[in-house]
């Protein structure tokens, strides 16, 4: 059916049936305000089953991630080419570890064979404890999806208070959205489809580590 015919049927259904819209008070839906966003985010993220680590500046990031890699005994680690904060510190620490480090994009076989994937984030959301990942050059969708462990690195300044604040950030440029995919990740993958028994680790990662780089006093 053509767009015209389809919409004509919808229009016909609405004839004589439209009321003037009343203004929507979005702020009624606000659940997180200002205040200590990092503390709110960390609490909610932990409640969602993610491990949250804090780094005082970019320096300690390498050591924190290296510790995670050692703990999970990862042999192959994937890292996005772009968008990862403290990248040089991170790579330096990873090169010291026994794990093989692959920089995305890589071949499909490598992606599915990786033990951990490291990405940056676009935003984090304090209200829900979510990290927001966005597609783009040097950022692979599968880095945070295929390996059983996902490590997300962000700076404190990337934490937004509420889903409403995230919503207004998703803006279209003159040619529409500049990215193809954005996903809010809130915890490891899970299911309760078998007798409502919760199982963690289905198709997505079974473990998510979030490393937050605290901002300086001087920021």
């Amino acid at each position: 059916m053509s767009r015209q015919s389809f919409l004509r049927r919808v229009r016909a259904a609405l004839v004589g049936n439209r009321a003037a819209p009343a203004p929507v008070d979005y702020e009624l839906a606000r659940l997180a305000g200002r205040g200590d966003l990092l503390a709110q985010f960390a609490r909610r993220a932990r409640e969602a089953g993610m491990e949250v680590h804090q780094a005082e500046g970019a320096g300690p990031v390498g050591a924190i991630v290296a510790r995670i890699i050692r703990r999970i005994e990862a042999r192959r680690v994937l890292i996005d080419r772009d968008g990862v904060p403290a990248r040089s510190e991170l790579l330096a620490a990873l090169m010291q570890s026994p794990a093989e480090v692959l920089v995305c994009p890589v071949g499909e076989a490598e992606v599915f064979a990786a033990d951990a994937g490291i990405t940056g984030v676009q935003w984090a959301i304090a209200e829900t404890g979510s990290v927001v990942l966005r597609s783009g050059a040097g950022r692979c969708r599968l880095t945070s999806l295929a390996p059983p462990v996902h490590v997300a690195i962000l700076t404190e300044g990337q934490i937004l208070p509420d889903l409403l604040d995230w919503a207004v950030q998703v803006r279209s440029g003159p040619h529409g959205l500049v990215w193809a995919y954005e996903v809010l990740v809130t915890g490891p993958s899970k299911t309760s489809d078998i007798e409502l028994n919760p199982v963690v680790g289905v198709h997505g990662p079974e473990m998510v580590h979030v490393v937050v780089i605290r901002s300086d006093e001087s920021d």
Binding site: S5, R9, V10, P21, D25, A29, E108, R139, C140, Y181
Partner: protein, 474 residues
């Protein structure tokens, strides 16, 4: 009385003890999850009112929002297809598969795809279609149908699934949910990698940006929309919101109402095919917008039902659904919303008996995150059933007689007196073990009380003078 098979299927379901245990466990947990997480909100009623207002206002200008959505999807490099009904939708998707040479398809959960029989259509054309949502995958292996719109395999036991997997996947028997999930993960991973086309549903499309929002917990939804070279998103025409802020409001109530989570693990926004500088993502994005009877509903008195965001909260709250489960409704859409949607999409004459699968207790209305007046609509549907001649003559007469007796205080007291003196004489110890005629349906399961010795209207003059009685009068 009312034609249709719901009563018979409900009887069967109630006698099925395994089903009873499964339903009790599943719905109980999800319902208490909803109460807890909605209770966490500072003003749940206000938020639900806001969500309902957004959905309602969207429906009022649905044509404009759909047009804006289409323009924006195309601006991002996607294609929009319009299907008047399920057959057209299946043909469109089949056409895309043929043109792109896709023979191996993976699907994430879409109730609409079940409504239109998409899997059967594609399979008949020789294509392999694999459900990747764990519950749906289990049902596909078993050749069974979903019984709940959010947890579709809730009627199956772990033992049953264990036997199914050991038979179909040729693995050692286990009934451990984690082990079964791991087995499914292994199988489905290979399917994701080999798939040439991914088909998803759409939770809500955002007209302002041309992005479609898909929420999941398992991660299969992310694979389906990201890995295969072609992504087809199947959407009911009413599943759109105007702006991102509207989406944010609905996201705040959706997961809380459905599964008692603040938000689902993955809330994804798909905005067209991959951009030129992106290393992965689909090369083609298709949005298939389906009517299939929705514009008729939009035009009529049941329009409010189109607010539905398929959270399943009404199912988990409904005492009828919690007893009989989804199969008794014999429809893709079950529970209170299904009792409305099924007759509206199929035929009020043939499926209208579902409007009686309710005691009008209002649990569904209290649970609905977009404040659909389900009980009000069920009553309207019952009136519609009468209008189209689905209510038997003697039942209409009986109700007329009852109404006549109760409209006058004198007739009411007189008939109550007759009942007490002549009928309640048969009661033993204040209870009737058996009622005659249609009342036998009631006393098959329980006794029916005799009237009180002193009727309330005779007690009231004394009660009115007591402190409590005065309190009641305000």
């Amino acid at each position: 009385m009312i034609r249709g098979g719901f009563s018979a299927r409900a009887d069967q379901a109630v006698a099925d003890l395994a089903l009873q245990a499964a339903m009790d466990r599943a719905t109980g947990r999800q319902d208490s999850g909803r109460r807890e997480l909605m209770g966490e909100l500072p003003d749940p009623l206000a938020l639900r009112g806001l969500a309902g207002q957004i959905r309602d206002q969207t429906l009022q200008r649905l044509d404009r929002h759909l047009e804006q959505l289409a323009v924006n999807v195309e601006r991002l490099g996607g294609s929009v297809h319009w299907a008047a009904d399920g057959t057209q939708a299946c043909q469109i998707i089949l056409g895309i598969a043929r043109r792109t040479g896709a023979r191996r398809l993976v699907k994430s959960k879409s109730m609409l795809s079940e409504e239109i029989g998409l899997n059967e259509s594609l399979t008949a054309a020789g294509l392999e279609v694999i459900e990747t949502d764990l519950g749906e995958y289990i049902l596909q292996l078993a050749g069974d149908r979903p019984s709940h719109i959010v947890a579709p395999a809730v009627h199956m036991t772990a033992e049953g699934i264990g036997r199914l997997f050991s038979q179909k996947l040729r693995i050692a028997y286990t009934e451990d949910p984690a082990g079964l999930t791991r087995a499914a993960r292994r199988v489905l991973r290979d399917k994701f990698r080999a798939a040439q086309m991914g088909i998803s549903g759409v939770n809500l499309a955002v007209a302002q940006s041309g992005a479609v929002c898909i929420v999941t917990n398992e991660g299969n939804g992310r694979f389906v929309v990201s890995h295969p070279p072609v992504h087809v998103a199947l959407m009911g025409m009413e599943r759109v919101v105007p702006t991102m802020r509207d989406l944010a409001v609905l996201l705040k109530v959706l997961a809380r109402s459905a599964t008692g989570q603040r938000i689902t693990v993955y809330t994804g926004l798909c905005g067209g095919p991959r951009r030129p500088d992106e290393p992965d993502g689909p090369r083609e994005f298709h949005l298939v917008v389906v009517d299939n009877g929705r514009s008729e509903i939009l035009a009529g008195p049941f329009r409010e039902v189109l607010r539905c965001i398929r959270c399943g909260a009404c199912l988990n709250a409904c005492p009828v659904y919690r007893k009989v489960g989804g199969h008794a409704y014999e429809s893709v859409y079950c529970g209170p919303m299904g009792a409305l949607l099924t007759p509206l999409l199929e035929s009020i004459v043939r499926r209208g008996d579902l409007a009686h699968a309710s005691s009008l207790c209002h649990a569904c209305a209290e649970a609905c995150p977009v404040r659909i007046d389900i009980p009000g609509l069920l009553i309207a549907m019952r009136a519609e059933l009468k209008r189209v001649g689905q209510v038997s003559r003697w039942q209409r007469l009986a109700v007329k007689l009852w109404a006549w007796l109760n409209r006058s205080s004198r007739r009411y007291h007189a008939s109550a007196w007759c009942w007490r003196v002549f009928f309640d004489a048969r009661a033993r110890g204040g209870w009737h073990a058996r009622l005659p005629g249609p009342g036998a349906g009631w006393t098959r399961q329980r006794d029916f009380p005799a009237m009180a010795e002193t009727p309330f209207h005779k007690l009231w003059p004394q009660l009115a003078e007591t402190p409590r009685g005065r309190q009641w009068q305000g």
